[in-house]
């Protein structure tokens, strides 16, 4: 029997999953909202079912609607992609009870990893260096201040159940602790319905480096080298590359080993990313484990010749990993996220009907997208429209290729961030790797200042 996979997501990751299903001879069932009728995932899937209104809570995030679609159309498994239900323990548990395979981690693992303090404990138990922090949530503002002083400024005040860039405050001075503590607590309460707060050392000038891990139900654990996602703004990644050009190989080898250890320790079969921060002295610290596919997975696929989504599907059905441990990267790959936002106007989300959409082509260029002319960008979802990935033998050529590709990219009807991406790729800081996770914001601020003084 042909296996049926319900793809509980939208956008480019839904299209990506449909392609993986096709190649594996599986039947894809897409779900879509009324605002996504013209999305390519609706067109490409074997079957597409409208699950409600544009607002995600009334469609993609409506557990009852997604699960009733899966059961009515007799799906064997649900592929959650990124975001939405991909790390939702409750959803994973309900799938289990319905006898539908959830392609991701089991509920108990998702619960542990979703709790920032618990996930750090796992890393400590697996013998991996972590950023100094409080072992438990702080009780009140006084304790928060005491702990901040003990750890040493700058610190990050973080929500235990936070994520997606919410519930995070970087504090440089003692007198700012109280106000940050309360505003962070309020934000966490509203966004995650949890006001548990803890304090962590803030690593200034750190790079964001992550390790892609795959493991199967037969006890095989391999890594697919690393990615560097240092170019980010407000905790949202903008440019990602594989592999990191600035972390020395001996340090990387230790990170690979630690990443595989933490996944073995968790006993989670599937795809996972172990995120680390690396400081200027090349000390690395565990940040978190994402037990799902990541937006930036294509750069890893390009340098290892693998298909991470296909592996996920096969692992879920109990098959062995179909690939062997790669020893070194083949070439270099860089991804630029194309977002519908107006860089010249405070980065407000840009909405409207796509009137034209021409994607770049050529040797070493890969596009992941879901839009077509006639698709209307609404404010309901993430602003990412496409990912442009450039591969080349060397990093220098990959950068040049990506800049030329962005030149060719022609999207009309909404404002996109392609000029900002081109400028960032052309900075000396990106070229020589002296950037850190605060670089993009500083670059934007300086551009804005120079424009204001003209």
């Amino acid at each position: 029997m042909r296996k049926k996979i319900l793809i509980a997501n939208r956008g480019e990751i839904a299209v990506r999953a449909i392609r993986a299903c096709r190649e594996l001879g599986m039947e894809s069932i897409a779900v879509y909202s009324k605002a996504d009728r013209e999305s390519l995932h609706v067109k490409y899937a074997d079957k597409a079912v409208c699950v409600g209104e544009g607002r995600a809570t009334g469609s993609y995030l409506d557990i009852y609607k997604i699960l009733s679609t899966a059961s009515l159309f007799e799906a064997d498994a649900i592929y959650p992609g990124t975001g939405f239900f991909s790390e939702n323990a409750n959803f994973a548990e309900l799938c289990d009870r319905l006898g539908i395979l959830f392609i991701g981690a089991k509920a108990p693992i998702l619960k542990k990893l979703g709790d920032k303090i618990l996930s750090k404990q796992i890393a400590v138990e697996a013998g991996i260096p972590v950023v100094p922090s409080t072992k438990d949530p702080v009780k009140d503002a006084d304790e928060c201040l005491k702990e901040a002083k003990r750890i040493g400024f700058p610190v990050v005040i973080k929500a235990v159940d936070g994520g997606g860039g919410k519930g995070i405050r970087i504090v440089h001075k003692e007198q700012d602790v109280r106000s940050s503590y309360f505003s962070c607590m309020k934000e966490a309460k509203a966004a995650f319905n949890s006001d548990k707060i803890f304090v962590e050392k803030f690593l200034d000038n750190a790079r964001h480096v992550e390790i892609q891990v795959l493991s199967d139900t037969h006890g095989n654990v391999i890594h697919l080298l690393d990615r560097d996602c240092t170019m980010q703004r407000r905790n949202q990644k903008l440019i990602e590359e594989a592999v990191s050009p600035f972390v020395p190989d001996d340090v990387k080898q230790k990170m690979y080993k630690d990443a595989c250890n933490v996944i073995s320790y968790l006993k989670y079969p599937g795809a996972a990313t172990v995120e680390f921060l690396v400081d200027r002295e090349m000390n690395y610290y565990f940040m978190e484990v994402n037990p799902r596919v990541q937006v930036e997975h294509p750069v890893t696929e390009m340098i290892t010749g693998t298909d991470i989504v296909k592996e996920q599907l096969q692992i879920a059905f109990g098959e062995k990993l179909s690939i062997k441990q790669p020893s070194c990267p083949s070439g270099h790959a860089i991804e630029a996220r194309i977002n519908a936002e107006d860089s010249s106007n405070g980065f407000v989300c840009s909405t409207g009907m796509i009137s034209k959409c021409v994607f770049p082509q050529g040797n070493g260029i890969r596009i992941e997208s879901y839009i077509q002319p006639g698709y209307k960008i609404t404010p309901f979802y993430d602003s990412m429209l496409a990912k442009v990935i450039a591969w080349a033998d060397t990093r220098e050529l990959a950068i040049r290729r990506l800049i030329y590709a962005l030149d060719e990219l022609d999207i009309q009807g909404v404002a996109v961030n392609k000029d900002l991406q081109k400028q960032l790729l052309a900075t000396p800081e990106f070229a020589d790797g002296t950037s850190n996770t605060t670089f993009v914001q500083k670059f934007i601020d300086s551009m804005y200042e120079s424009q204001a003084t003209v």
């Binding site: 009324k34 605002a35 079912v49 409208c50 699950v51 059961s71 009515l72 159309f73 319905l98």
Partner: protein
């Protein structure tokens, strides 16, 4: 002319392709016309899913509805809603759920509603079942049921057209 004769004439015209007949004799005048006369009845032959409406079945608001809605939906993602809004007299009832259509009342073979029925706002029109949960679909308006667009045990998706109701 006797009543019997008129009745016979009407049934003859009904079967023929004629749309109008004017008969005049000895100061008596009879006008029979098939135009615009068939108001409530053609509703029962409203299209099932995917069928074209009978061309010019009646010039009332309902006949142009499915075609207009389909055209608008093709033109713009939210077009269907706009088409419905454009036609003030007809309310469309669309599925808020994914599930199996149950047109009959509980444990019965009798449909909850039939075409031509007077419908009250809030009246139950059908149930949609999914995962053993039964959700009622109720009428948003007072009016007359113009069409039922689904069959018993059809699987429907969100936003799929279920009923049309002429308001009033």
């Amino acid at each position: 002319m006797t009543i019997e004769e008129i009745k016979s004439l009407i049934s003859q015209i009904d079967k023929s392709a004629l749309t109008e007949l004017v008969y005049e004799k000895d100061g008596e005048k009879l006008v029979l016309s098939k135009k615009q006369k068939v108001a409530p009845q053609p509703v029962s032959i409203m299209p099932q899913m995917g069928m074209m409406p009978p061309a010019g079945a009646f010039a009332g608001a309902a006949s142009q509805m499915p075609a207009a809605a389909a055209a608008a939906a093709a033109a713009a993602p939210d077009g269907a809603d706009k088409a419905a809004a454009k036609n003030d007299n007809v309310a469309e009832v669309r599925s808020p759920y994914i599930g199996t259509i149950l047109l009959n009342a509980d444990d019965s073979t009798v449909p909850l509603v039939n075409v031509g029925d007077r419908i009250k706002k809030g009246q139950k029109l059908c149930q949609i079942e999914a995962m053993k949960m039964y959700n009622d679909v109720v009428s948003p308006v007072d009016g007359t049921l113009l069409s039922i667009e689904v069959d018993q045990e059809d699987i429907v998706e969100c936003d799929q057209l279920l009923f049309t109701i002429e308001k009033g």
